[in-house]
């Protein structure tokens, strides 16, 4: 369950990165549609956070330690919203680049989460 969600979030994050990268390439700031995309990816991260905590509460142990697992879950949760707010403050193509970078960072976090959980 958690592994499938991790993969899904990583793929969605990369798609968001490509989409915002395309916007940056066309010299556009992030638009409403991009923010809906960010919301979808953030929602996946929230679901992942909740399920991850539920798994921990059930007594399952991540392979590389609970602290690191929770830290990465929180990081993954905060990643896209933070980049989104920065793109609100920067209404140029560079705002789009920032969100694209955020998507890539999230994808990396998901790969690490996969390893930490021991998938």
């Amino acid at each position: 369950m958690l592994d499938a969600l991790t993969v899904a979030t990583a793929v969605a994050a990369l798609a968001l990165a490509a989409w915002c990268g395309w916007a940056a390439y066309r010299d556009q700031p992030t638009k409403d549609w991009h923010f809906i995309g960010m919301a979808v990816v953030s929602l996946l991260a929230v679901v992942q956070l909740v399920i991850g905590i539920v798994q921990l509460a059930r007594g399952e142990k991540p392979e590389q330690g609970t602290t690191i697992f929770v830290a990465y879950l929180l990081g993954a949760f905060a990643c896209i919203p933070a980049a989104g707010f920065m793109s609100l403050a920067e209404r140029t193509r560079w705002g789009s680049v920032t969100v694209a970078a955020g998507g890539i960072v999230l994808a990396v976090l998901e790969v690490r989460l996969y390893d930490i959980w021991g998938g």
Partner: protein, 171 residues
């Protein structure tokens, strides 16, 4: 760009440098009077984001490692903590803006670059000194080489912010 670079050689440290009007910034904002030079407009925002990520990465990593397994690799974990502090200071300088912060950030970026190169070489030459990785091991390979690319692009950006500021001051 070429015209402003020549202006870059004009000594301008005599002025009360901090409160320069924000010159041409790529966001196309109106140059407000008596405002600090904004360092986070345009590409600066991307730099701020990447530095923010590195702060969280380096600080949280070293915090966990120092509190749980410091004896395993004290040198590596201490270096990660130092890297986190340097990243934190650069991030703060970028947000604050202004001439003093710009110079301070420039110095820190140079220190960061020196740190990455030194530690990167060190980990390759003598891996035994590092039982566990630092943020700067192998030139930051574990972090997509961001640690070595970031100071270079940041120094480029910060130098450009200076020439933009001096161009508006000279005109």
């Amino acid at each position: 760009m070429t015209a402003t670079e020549e202006n870059g050689t004009v000594p301008q440290e005599k002025k009360p440098a901090d409160e320069k009007p924000a010159g041409e910034n790529p966001a196309g904002e109106k140059p407000a009077k008596n405002r600090r030079t904004r360092l986070i407009s345009g590409p600066g925002m991307l730099l701020l984001w990447l530095y923010g990520v590195m702060v969280v990465g380096a600080v949280s990593r070293s915090a966990v490692q120092i509190s749980t397994e410091f004896d395993k690799a004290p040198l590596a974990y201490s270096l990660s903590a130092v890297a986190g502090v340097v990243y934190g200071f650069i991030t703060y300088s970028l947000v604050r803006g202004g001439e003093t912060a710009r110079k301070a950030a420039l110095v820190c970026c140079a220190a960061e670059l020196a740190g990455v190169l030194t530690v990167g070489t060190w980990t390759l030459v003598e891996p035994s000194a590092f039982p566990d990785a630092t943020v700067w091991s192998d030139y930051g390979m574990g972090y997509l080489f961001i640690p070595v690319l970031l100071p270079l692009s940041a120094m480029y950006w910060l130098r450009k912010a200076r020439t933009a500021g001096s161009a508006s001051a000279v005109q």
